[in-house]
């Protein structure tokens, strides 16, 4: 396989012609910020393919393409955010599109703060995921408000009905005091054998017509039992009440909340449904529509006057920066003070010092061991990047890395990685080093969070070499030092005996 390169005009124009919708596979055609030109395959069954192969080979031999990587991106180290900032617009797009490196500092992942602002100010038409998310959340807030309103309405109606019934009971009591004077208003605990037999689960209830058989001594008290179970005996109801109880159960369909299932079916009057609720009516009319409407006038005048400055940069995590610098060689990180490019060793030292909070940058601070947070995470990052996965930060789910198959625009992350150091070397055992003590609650809570978002949990054990071996190998190069680490993965899945048969 021969590697050649060519200038990438597609990247420069990527930002401009967003209006003309390009397919995803075209935008994200390159899985890494380097270009490869593989020779065509040779099929013995098809002799013509040999000619094609020979032609391509001769062409590449005669005019060897310039060395890859053709474009080296420039970044600046930022100690304040412990990261590398990319400010050049073309580099930002290129690093995002070719392998999903970094995150827009003011966006959820893809750097599109400028576009979001332009769309909000009406300068541009388009779909921005952040705006879409805000709209979806607002709809959810409205739906939850409506659900709460309906629930309060149901509670109110139940209370009114109960009050009416209590009044009716009292009226009946007053009318014929003698025969039915013993009707209890509250359900009494069953004490006699006949009452216990009349309870719903007993054999008597199976034999009987209803699921509650009227106890001889309790009279109407059985109705109270059945009422608590949600079925109202309509024989007691007067004519004005039957209309509401016999009305079909109308489950309110709340937009955005249809998956939130109702626990019980409670009957309520059709007048509830007729109190119409305007979907565009938010719980807080002045604010929930947010800057889209409130600020658009002010922002519009602003935009007319001045140019919108992009406040966003692409922020590379230290692990991503070292991978791009050391493994791919497509990134140069500059020192913000002197402006000089930092070597890979300098970067490594810087990142290791800043992997704790507050950073160990003082002259008296101890030098980090081979099990410092940066190296552990970098080893895992390097491992999965080399295998073609796209690891991204997983702090939102409480894990160390999220693992994407192709990238965040194509699918959701399939796995959540937890990095755990393993001190298997005898040197560590003799030095008394113990692995971090994590509780079962910690493990379980992360597992449940991940399973809730349909991700599998992977425990990634990193075998850490002893310090003397590590320092020795580091003298001959970072690649040799990294070879001393071993990565083992264990996937954990909750087994529920009822579901997983």
């Amino acid at each position: 396989m021969a590697e050649t390169s060519s200038p990438k005009p597609a990247m420069a124009s990527a930002n401009n012609n967003l209006a003309t919708k390009r397919p995803l596979y075209e935008i994200y055609a390159l899985p890494a910020p380097i270009k490869t030109f593989p020779l065509p395959s040779f099929y013995p069954s098809n002799p013509l393919s040999f000619i094609q192969l020979a032609y391509a080979w001769v062409g590449q031999v005669l005019s060897p393409p310039p060395a890859e990587p053709s474009i080296i991106h420039q970044g600046t180290w930022s100690a304040a955010t412990t990261s590398v900032h990319i400010k050049d617009a073309q580099s930002m797009r290129a690093l995002w599109e070719q392998g999903f490196y970094g995150k827009g500092s003011l966006s959820r992942s893809e750097p599109n703060w400028l576009r979001r602002e332009e769309v909000r100010r009406g300068l541009q038409e388009g779909h921005v995921s952040e705006i879409h998310t805000v709209e979806r959340r607002e709809e959810r807030i409205r739906a939850k408000w409506e659900r709460a309103r309906l629930e309060q309405e149901i509670i109110r109606q139940t209370r009114e009905r109960e009050a009416r019934q209590a009044e009716k009971h009292r009226a009946v009591e007053d009318a014929n005091t003698a025969p039915k004077a013993h009707i209890p208003t509250e359900p009494l605990a069953p004490v006699g054998p006949a009452e216990i037999l009349a309870l719903p689960n007993s054999a008597a209830s199976n034999l009987g017509n209803g699921f509650v058989k009227d106890g001889p001594s309790h009279g109407e008290s059985s109705d109270d039992y059945s009422k608590t179970n949600g079925t109202l005996d309509s024989s007691l109801e007067s004519s004005d009440d039957t209309s509401s109880t016999e009305a079909p159960i109308s489950t309110p369909v709340i937009p955005g909340l249809h998956h939130l299932k109702r626990q019980k079916s409670v009957r309520f009057s059709p007048t509830v449904a007729s109190t119409t609720f305007d979907r565009t009516d938010p719980p807080s009319p002045g604010h929930s529509t947010g800057p889209k409407q409130n600020e658009s006038a002010a922002l519009g005048s602003q935009a007319g006057a001045g140019v919108l400055i992009n406040k966003e940069h692409l922020q590379l995590m230290p692990e991503e920066a070292l991978w791009l610098n050391f493994a791919l060689g497509v990134l140069v990180v500059k020192d913000p003070r002197s402006g000089n490019p930092l070597s890979t060793r300098e970067l490594l030292n810087l990142f290791r010092q800043h992997s704790v909070f507050p950073p160990l940058t003082g002259p008296d601070d101890p030098s980090p061991l081979p099990d410092d947070d940066f190296l552990l995470h970098y080893v895992v990052y390097h491992h999965f990047r080399s295998l073609g996965w796209v690891p991204r930060a997983g702090i939102k789910f409480g894990v160390d890395w999220l693992l994407y198959n192709k990238g965040p625009v194509f699918d959701h992350a399939e796995f959540g990685l937890l990095v755990i150091p393993s001190y298997s070397d005898p040197w560590w055992q003799s030095s008394g080093k113990r692995k971090p003590q994590k509780t079962w609650q910690w493990f379980h809570s992360i597992l449940r969070v991940l399973s809730h978002v349909m991700k599998s949990m992977v425990l990634v054990y990193v075998d850490v070499p002893p310090p003397h071996k590590f320092e020795e190998a580091l003298e001959s190069g970072l690649a040799d030092a990294l070879k001393l680490y071993k990565v083992r993965e264990i996937m954990v899945k909750r087994w529920s005996s009822n579901r997983n048969r």
């Binding site: 100690a79 304040a80 955010t81 412990t82 990261s83 970094g102 995150k103 827009g104 500092s105 003011l106 966006s107 703060w113 939850k144 408000w145 709460a148 309103r149 309060q152 309405e153 109110r156 009516d281 719980p283 807080s284 009319p285 002045g286 604010h287 929930s288 947010g290 800057p291 406040k311 966003e312 922020q315 995590m317 230290p318 992997s355 704790v356 909070f357 507050p358 950073p359 947070d373 991204r392 930060a393 702090i395 939102k396």
Partner: protein
């Protein structure tokens, strides 16, 4: 002094959270409060109400039912505590942060925890003092 403050890692993450609130989440009147010997806290006004207590919601719904007027849920000033994920926090330290919140009338019932990750994600969580009635999800 200014140089020293800029170098301080805590004020650096505070600055990151201020930028995130203003530019990504559209908060207004964001200002940083430095108490003597205390963690810096950020005070700001979110674009919409962050939290409605379930009892307040029921009261608002009752009001809406009886008068037909929907109560305006005005956003309130919130206090944000910027933290770094590698920091170790204890209950007593969080309690001291609650003690340090400036107040004229009643003391602040909640603060917002803003955890800054080095990929520029800021994860926000609401911290309430004491037991709070849970909301329906």
């Amino acid at each position: 002094m200014a140089q020293l403050l800029a170098e301080d890692p805590v004020s650096q993450i505070t600055q990151t959270v201020v930028q995130n609130l203003e530019d990504q989440h559209d908060w207004t009147s964001v200002e940083t409060h430095h108490g003597a010997g205390q963690r810096p806290l950020i005070k700001g006004l979110p674009p919409r109400r962050l939290y409605i207590h379930p009892d307040d919601q029921i009261a608002a719904l009752d009001h809406e039912h009886s008068t037909g007027v929907r109560l305006h849920q005005e956003p309130e000033f919130e206090w944000v505590l910027p933290v770094h994920p590698a920091e170790k926090w204890t209950l007593s330290r969080i309690a001291s942060v609650f003690d340090s919140v400036e107040h004229t009338g009643e003391r602040a019932k909640r603060i917002v925890l803003g955890t800054v990750h080095n990929d520029s994600t800021v994860v926000y969580y609401l911290l309430h003092e004491g037991l709070v009635k849970p909301r329906q999800n």
